[in-house]
C-alpha cells in the first residue's frame, strides 16, 4: 500500500527556485500545490545564533540535517550536491545577487561565439525585478549602459564600510567603476525580516534573518495553507502516458525508516531540484516508451552543463584598512562583461573585498625564529601598517555538449538507483581562449595594483578538478526540440505538463553568481505554468 499525494501543481524540490515558484503559483492560481522535498526540516531560526557560534568556534555545520548519505553525485561536482533539506543549498548561500548582462543572452548575435538563448535580457527583466522584490535585494544600479534595469532595486544598497570606500577610490584610480554588490540582505527592515547586523557569516548562516533564504517563503505559504509541504519524500521516477505524452504521476519513497512507497498525482509538474537532481531524475525515468528517459527525445538531458571559473588575487595597498568591518560585502563591476569591439573574446566580472591576507599574526619570522609575546605583537602590528584587498574575476566558460551528467552504475543509493556523475568540459571556443582570458585578468590585477601603489602578493586560479562554479544546464532551453530539452518558458518539448525551473535550463552560466538568474527563470516558468 503506497501513500498517495494529490495536488493541482506538484513542485519537486524546496530550494530557492522551488520556493519562489511556489509563491508565484500560490499568488497567481487557486490550485492546490504540493512541494516535495527529499530531506527534512532545516535548522530552526531560533537555533541559528548558537549554530553560528559553533561554526565560528569549531567549524561545525549549522545545517547538520541537510543531506542524505546515500544520495550524492560523483565526478567534478562543484557545490554540495547532496544538499537535501527544506531550503536546499540556499540555506548556505552568500546571498550575492548580480543579474547576468544582456550580452549573456546574445553571445552569437553580439560576439559571434557559441549560441544565443531563446530569450533576451529584456524578456527576463520583469522576472529579475520580481525575484528581487520577492527575496528582498539591496542594491544600486551601475552605469545603465552595462547594468540596465527596468525599475529601481526594492531596497537601497548595503552601505560601504570605510574599507570599501577607500577601495572604491582605488578602483577609480585604475579606471574601473565599482559599486555596492547587490545582495539578498536587508539594508532596511523588509518583508517582516530584520535589517542586516553585519554578523559577517552570511555564508554559511545568518542569525538575524536579514539574509533571504527559502524557508521564509515556504513557512509563510505553509502557514497560509497555500502549499502542502511533503518532506522526506525522494522522487525517483517520472511517468508519462505514451499516447498523449502527458506526465501522469511521480513515484518515490519515503527517506525515513521503512521507505514507504509514495505516488504523486498532479495536473502540472515542475521540477525544481537544481541542476544535478533534475537531469538525474529525468534520466532515471526510463521505460519502454521512453528508453532514454523522460523529456529526452533530443538526447540532451544531462548535456551542456555550464559554469564558470575564476582567478583571484590579494593585493597589498598603502591603505589603512580594518578587517572585519563587514567582510562578506564587496564592490562589483560589470565593466568587463562586455567585450570591446575588435577585442578577442574575454568576459568576466570583477569584485573587490577587504582582506586580512598578510595582515594576520604569525608565529615565526622570515628567519624561522619563533615569535612569542611582545615580539609577536610587534611583528603583527607592523604587518597591519598596510592594507590588502582581495580581487576576483569569474570568467565566461562556454559549455561543450560533452559537459554532462550521466548515471554512474558504480554508485547507487539504497534503492539501487545509480547516482549522477558529473563531468564538465569546455567548448572549443573556451579551450582556445582560456590562456588569453587568464592572462588578461592577471594583467588587470597587476594594473590595478600599480594604480594604487601596491603589489600583487598572491594569486590563484579556481581548481579545475572540482568542476565549475554556479553550475547550471543539463536541461537547457531552446527553440529547437532537437537540440534542447525545454522551451523559453521551461516547458519540456516532449511533455506539455512538465516544466523545468531554474538552473538546469541555463544555456550558459555567464561570469557572475547565478542564483538570481535561476530564480528569475523559475518565476518565468511559474508564469508559464499559471497561464
Amino acid at each position: 500500500m503506497s501513500r498517495r499525494i494529490e495536488a493541482d501543481y506538484c513542485i519537486v524540490g524546496s530550494g530557492i527556485t522551488a520556493a519562489l515558484v511556489a509563491a508565484k503559483l500560490a499568488d497567481s492560481t487557486k490550485g492546490t500545490i504540493a512541494v516535495i522535498e527529499a530531506g527534512g526540516a532545516t535548522t530552526p531560526f531560533k537555533d541559528r545564533t548558537l549554530a553560528r557560534q559553533r561554526f565560528l568556534d569549531y567549524n561545525e555545520s549549522p545545517w547538520t540535517s541537510d543531506h542524505l548519505d546515500d544520495q550524492n553525485a560523483t565526478g567534478t561536482a562543484f557545490g554540495f550536491s547532496p544538499d537535501m533539506h527544506v531550503g536546499g543549498l540556499a540555506m548556505h548561500w552568500g546571498a550575492v545577487t548580480p543579474r547576468y548582462s544582456p550580452d549573456d543572452f546574445k553571445l552569437r548575435s553580439m560576439h559571434g561565439v557559441f549560441e544565443d538563448w531563446p530569450i533576451s535580457y529584456d524578456d527576463l527583466d520583469p522576472f529579475y525585478q520580481e525575484a528581487e522584490e520577492r527575496m528582498g535585494i539591496s542594491g544600486e544600479q551601475g552605469p545603465p549602459a552595462i547594468d540596465p534595469r527596468g525599475k529601481p532595486f526594492p531596497m537601497p544598497a548595503l552601505p560601504l564600510s570605510p574599507n570599501l570606500q577607500q577601495l572604491r577610490g582605488w578602483a577609480d584610480k585604475a579606471g574601473i567603476a565599482m559599486w555596492s554588490q547587490p545582495s539578498a540582505k536587508n539594508s532596511v527592515p523588509y518583508d517582516g525580516r530584520a535589517v542586516c547586523q553585519r554578523c559577517d557569516t552570511c555564508y554559511p548562516v545568518c542569525p538575524s534573518g536579514a539574509k533571504y533564504s527559502p524557508e521564509w517563503t515556504l513557512d509563510r505559504l505553509v502557514a497560509a495553507k497555500r502549499i502542502a509541504m511533503h518532506t522526506n519524500v525522494l522522487v525517483r521516477r517520472v511517468l508519462a502516458d505514451p499516447r498523449t505524452g502527458r506526465i501522469t504521476h511521480l513515484t518515490g519513497n519515503s527517506t525515513l525508516a521503512g521507505g514507504e512507497e509514495v505516488e504523486i498525482h498532479a495536473r502540472q509538474f515542475v521540477l525544481a531540484g537544481g541542476f544535478t537532481w533534475t537531469a538525474h531524475l529525468l534520466l532515471l525515468s526510463t521505460s519502454g516508451a521512453y528508453p532514454n528517459g523522460i523529456a529526452n527525445t533530443s538526447g540532451h538531458v544531462g548535456k551542456y552543463l555550464a559554469g564558470h571559473r575564476n582567478l583571484n588575487a590579494h593585493i597589498e595597498l598603502p591603505l589603512t584598512l580594518y578587517p572585519g568591518m563587514n567582510g562578506q560585502h564587496s564592490l562589483v563591476s560589470k565593466q568587463f562583461m562586455r567585450v570591446p569591439r575588435g577585442n578577442q573574446y574575454v568576459r568576466h566580472d570583477l569584485r573587490v573585498w577587504e582582506s586580512s591576507v598578510g595582515r594576520e599574526a604569525r608565529w615565526r619570522d622570515e628567519q624561522g625564529n619563533v615569535l612569542l609575546g611582545s615580539a609577536l605583537l610587534a611583528d603583527w602590528k607592523h604587518r597591519t601598517k598596510k592594507g590588502a584587498a582581495r580581487v576576483r574575476a569569474y570568467y565566461d566558460v562556454l559549455p561543450d555538449k560533452a559537459s554532462e551528467l550521466t548515471l554512474d552504475a558504480g554508485a547507487k543509493n539504497r534503492w539501487g538507483d545509480p547516482m549522477p556523475r558529473l563531468s564538465f568540459r569546455d567548448h572549443p571556443t573556451t579551450v582556445a581562449g582560456r590562456a588569453h582570458a587568464e592572462e588578461s585578468i592577471k594583467a588587470l590585477f597587476k594594473r590595478m595594483a600599480a594604480a594604487g601603489g601596491g603589489k600583487v602578493i598572491s594569486s590563484e586560479s579556481s581548481a579545475n578538478d572540482i568542476g565549475q562554479e554556479h553550475p547550471g544546464g543539463g536541461c537547457r532551453m531552446g527553440t529547437d526540440p532537437a537540440t534542447s530539452v525545454v522551451d523559453g518558458w521551461g516547458r519540456a518539448h516532449d511533455h506539455e505538463n512538465l516544466w523545468v525551473a531554474g538552473a538546469p535550463t541555463n544555456v550558459t552560466a555567464s561570469c557572475c553568481n547565478g542564483t538570481l538568474t535561476f530564480v528569475a527563470l523559475g518565476l518565468r516558468t511559474a508564469a508559464g505554468v499559471a497561464r
Partner: protein
C-alpha cells in the same frame, strides 16, 4: 602556582580514558557542557610567556579563559561545515585536550629534570626558553594554525587568542568588533579608536 604532578597525570589519564569510552560533551540546547580541562597552573604558566605582556593581566586572563571555554565546549565527531566545492561530509577530529595536557605534563617533567622545579615555578625567561625550544622543533611555515590543527598547546593558545575579536581590536587599537553582530547604521564610520 603549584602543581601536584602525580595527581595531574592521573587526572589526564582518567579524562583520556573517559573519552575513549565515548564520554562527550553536550551541545546545542542540551545540558551544560561536561567540559574538558587543561591543567590550570601549567596553562597559566605557558600563557604568561606566549601572550604579549602588553595585554596586561586582565586581558591575558580573559584570553586564557576563552581558550579554556573553547576546550570545554569542543565536541569530537561533530559534523563540519561542508563548503562549496566539497562533496564529502567531514567530522571534527578526536579531542585535542588529552594531547595538550600531555604536552603540559611533558613541559613540567622536563622542567623538573632540567631545573629541579616544576614548570610553573620557573621564572619567565626559563619558561620562555622551554616553550620556544618545543615550538622550534615543529615543522611548517610561519602561519598561525587553526586552533584544532595546532601541534602544540602553546601554539593552540596563541592561535585561539590571535583569532579572537579582542586580539584584532588590540592590535589595530580600534573597536572593530570582528565576528560580532553590530548595527549596520555605523558601518560607514571608522571604528572607535581608529586612526583617521
Amino acid at each position: 602556582m603549584t602543581t601536584n604532578r602525580r595527581s595531574f597525570l592521573k587526572a589526564s589519564a582518567a579524562t583520556a580514558a573517559g573519552l575513549a569510552a565515548g564520554c562527550t560533551t553536550e551541545r546545542r540546547g542540551g545540558a551544560a557542557a561536561a567540559g574538558f580541562a587543561l591543567e590550570p597552573a601549567l596553562l597559566d604558566a605557558v600563557a604568561e610567556v606566549v601572550l604579549p605582556i602588553e595585554l596586561g593581566a586582565e586581558r591575558r586572563a580573559s584570553a586564557v579563559a576563552g581558550f579554556r571555554a573553547w576546550i570545554a565546549g569542543f565536541e569530537p565527531a561533530a559534523e563540519e561545515l561542508h563548503g562549496y566545492g566539497e562533496q564529502e561530509v567531514r567530522f571534527t577530529p578526536a579531542h585535542p585536550g588529552p594531547q595538550w595536557n600531555a604536552q603540559l605534563a611533558q613541559l613540567d617533567a622536563l622542567a623538573r629534570r632540567q631545573h629541579r622545579r616544576g614548570f610553573a615555578q620557573l621564572d619567565a625567561p626559563k619558561r620562555d626558553a622551554m616553550v620556544r625550544a618545543q615550538l622550534a622543533r615543529l615543522k611548517g611555515g610561519d602561519r598561525m594554525p587553526g586552533v584544532l590543527a595546532a601541534p602544540h598547546v602553546a601554539l593552540a593558545l596563541l592561535a585561539h587568542w590571535a583569532e579572537s575579536s579582542a586580539a584584532t581590536d588590540f592590535v589595530y587599537g580600534a573597536a572593530i568588533g570582528k565576528d560580532s553582530c553590530r548595527t549596520l547604521a555605523t558601518v560607514t564610520a571608522l571604528p572607535t579608536g581608529a586612526r583617521s
